[in-house]
Every structure is written in structure tokens, then in C-alpha cells.
Point group: C2
Chain length 215, copies 2
DNA sequence: TGCGTACCGTACCGTACGGTTCGGCATCTT
DNA sequence: AAGATGCCGAACCGTACGGTACGGTACGCA
């Protein structure tokens, strides 16, 4: 597993009290459990044993609370550096496979799905504020890892591509296809996650067929 | 253009009055313009010059109205049969490219995005009812066209694959990547749609590299 | 002419939510 | 001891929404 949950580290990183982190944790739980409708200020206050007054003092308003939730959650996902050592065709394939599995784990996680649903629902009425925040915070980390991996592959003459972004887009599409959207629409996660391993292998194979350096 | 808008045909198909179709049209307009928040019963009634009483008589309740909107909108998208004539490598590529463009046109259309946002927002709190409906109605049509195209390609010995579903999943991922999600999150559609043509060509190239019959 | 039907516009009701205010309690500071 | 601070719990306010009820109107039909 290459993504590490760091407990309350997200709180400290964002300049939040331990208590505030705990409140955000409960709020995320509420959101996961009951969707946006369950994320009421009164509900969060009750679930976290704090007062609405404190919520408004700490986070400003409901949108501030949501933004804090996104930032807090994003702070919990960290990637480990890809070992910059010698990269063989075999280790590259392994790294790509691990990346695929971790990507799916993150995208299809309860909290990620709930936050994406929330941001998408908000996207229509109020600019792309939350959407951009989610995209930035969430994708930056994982995209950086992918970019590093691809770049390492190119340096080792195992991959050939002009644009790393384009290659990453292709890799992403091969791995995810429409799974993310289907999950967002409410499809049962269990079924798809179980049978994903072979799918991930096929995606990696396809990616290597497309971008593997001709030997 | 292979997807045809059929005006009010969707209404008749679903057993709806002309008037009811017009109401759904206004409701869709409201949804596109202002998101879920704008889709209030009073708002729809005002915009469509009808009474709330009629809305409830026709559609039961708000969810019924939304379901009717989805069904109505899905009824407007029709695919044309792929000409079953002789399929050459060149025409296959052309058909795939046209499919890619049409797929993007549909997925990134105003109404489609708005309905997907609505269904995703609803997905958390209330089963997957709307999500499944949207998936069934919207995807069935376009998936059927893709399946027919792929099958024709295999019959002409231009494509080689074991599972048509899997091949379609790959094609979908190559074409769409994460564009759909980014749009749902509120990214500006104009920019991505403009520069899509070369992307679509690359996706088709990649697909043919993966699934083109050897030789 | 009278009656039924379908519809509109508006008013209404209950509820729920975001946000504010206030009294009270515990802890800390001086 | 006395004030200040931070917080909780609850009450409160304005608003907005889903859903219902009612009066009024146009039209078809006997």
C-alpha cells in the first residue's frame, strides 16, 4: 500500500486544533453516511458534541466547513516516493500495477466518493470553487506520483512518450474507464472492487503496449 | 452527426401530452441554468406557466418529475445504425472517430451534465434509483451503437478481442479519460471541447493499436 | 343553460435549514 | 477572588421549500 493514512496529521498540517480535526472527522462520517442532506450544521454540532457557535467561529459558514473537510481529507493522503533505483521492465510493470490499485482505492473510497458527490452537486450553483479545490488537492498528490513514475520509466528507456500529461491521461483512462462515474451514480462498490485486480493488469498491459519503448 | 434530436418525439414515446413535454423542457432549462437549487416545484410551475397542482397530478412528486425529465431527455437521443456495408480499415477508423466525437458531444452537453449532477447528488441519500435510470436510458443507446460497431469490425477481421464489453470499456476510457468528471466538477467546457478533435484521433489510434487485427 | 373536467394562480401549512443570540459552566490568568 | 475566555446547549429568526387546498376560468357536452 503506497497511500498512507496519517490520522490527525491533516489537522496539524492545515493549522487546525486537534478538536477541530475531530469535528471534521465526524462531519465526514456524516457526509459518507447520509450524503449532503445529512451534512447540516445542527447535525454536525450534535454528532461532534460541539455547538453551532463554535462551528461558525472556526469555519465561517457552511461552505467554509466543507472546504475545511476537503482540505483535511486531502491532507490524509500521502504518496511515497518511487524508489529512484534501477528500473527494470519488471519493476516498472509492478509499480504501474501498484499505482493502478492505489488509484482505484482512493477514487472508490467512501470519503472520496462522498466529497466528489458533494462538490459536483455544488458545482452547478456556485462556480467551480469546491470542484477546483477537490481537483487540486486530491489530484495533485496522485498525479505527482504518476508523473514521477512515468518520467523514471522514460529515463530508464522503458517508456517512450512526448507529453507526460498525455501519457498519464491515457493511463488514467485505461485504469478507470467509467468506473468512477458509475460509483458516483450509486452503483455498488463491492462488486467492482473485487474483480478489479485482473482489470488493472490488463490496463497496465495496454499502457505498456502503447507507450513501452520498442525493444 | 449521428445523434439526432427529435424534438417532442420523446414525449409521445413516453406517453406524455405535448403540454407535459413542454413543461419538462422548461424544467430541463431551469436545471441547466441554475442547478438542482433552481429546480423547485414553484419555479417549474412559474417557468412553464402551469400550476403546482398540475405538476403533482402529472408526475406525482418532485422525484417523479425528475425521473420524467431523465426519461424525456433520454428519448431525444437516437443513434443511427452503422452502415452494415463493407468495412475497411479506413472506414472503421472514420466510424470510430465519429463515435468518439458524438460520445463527447453527448457526455459534455449542457443537459447531460446537469442531469448527471442531479442524479449524483441524489445518489447518496436515496439508493441508486436515479443513477440507474440515467445509466440505463443514456448508456443503453450509445453502448448499443458501440457494440454494433465493434462487432462489425470483428466480423470484418479488422478488430480482435475476446469481450466486446471489455473492448468498449477500453475505448471509452481512451476517449473520455477524466474529462467527464472534470466537467461535472465545473471545469469550463469550452476549452476542452475545442481541442478535442486531435485527442479523439489519438484515442482511436491507440484503440486500433490495442485491438486492431494483426497483419 | 347547466354540469363536469381540466387547468391556472395564489394562498396556505408544516418542516427544515443556515445563521445568530444568549445564559450558563468550566478553565485559565492576574 | 475576580474577571476574561472558550465553549456548550438551547432557543430563536428569517427564509425557502415540498406539498395541499381553494377560488376562479375556459371549454366540452348534454
Amino acid at each position: 500500500m503506497h497511500f498512507v493514512e496519517q490520522g490527525r496529521a491533516g489537522a496539524a498540517a492545515a493549522g487546525l486544533t486537534e478538536r477541530q480535526g475531530a469535528v471534521l472527522e465526524r462531519a465526514l462520517g456524516l457526509l459518507v453516511e447520509g450524503g449532503e442532506r445529512a451534512l447540516t450544521t445542527a447535525g454536525v454540532a450534535r454528532a461532534a458534541n460541539c455547538s453551532k457557535e463554535s462551528l461558525y467561529k472556526w469555519f465561517g459558514d457552511r461552505d467554509g466547513l466543507i472546504s475545511a473537510m476537503i482540505t483535511y481529507q486531502a491532507g490524509k493522503v500521502r504518496t511515497v516516493e518511487v524508489s529512484a533505483g534501477a528500473l527494470t521492465a519488471e519493476t516498472l510493470r509492478k509499480h504501474l500495477f501498484a499505482f493502478a490499485c492505489d488509484l482505484i482505492d482512493v477514487l472508490l473510497g467512501d470519503v472520496s466518493l462522498a466529497l466528489n458527490r458533494l462538490a459536483i452537486g455544488q458545482a452547478s450553483r456556485e462556480g467551480a470553487g469546491l470542484g477546483r479545490l477537490l481537483q487540486e488537492r486530491g489530484r495533485r498528490q496522485i498525479g505527482k506520483r504518476a508523473a514521477a513514475l512515468l518520467e523514471a520509466g522514460r529515463k530508464a528507456k522503458l517508456l517512450a512518450f512526448d507529453s507526460a500529461d498525455e501519457a498519464y491521461g491515457t493511463l488514467y483512462g485505461l485504469i478507470v474507464s467509467d468506473m468512477h462515474l458509475r460509483m458516483l451514480l450509486g452503483e455498488d462498490a463491492g462488486a467492482l472492487k473485487k474483480e478489479f485486480s485482473p482489470r488493472a493488469e490488463k490496463a497496465v498491459d495496454a499502457f505498456l503496449t502503447l507507450y513501452g519503448a520498442k525493444g
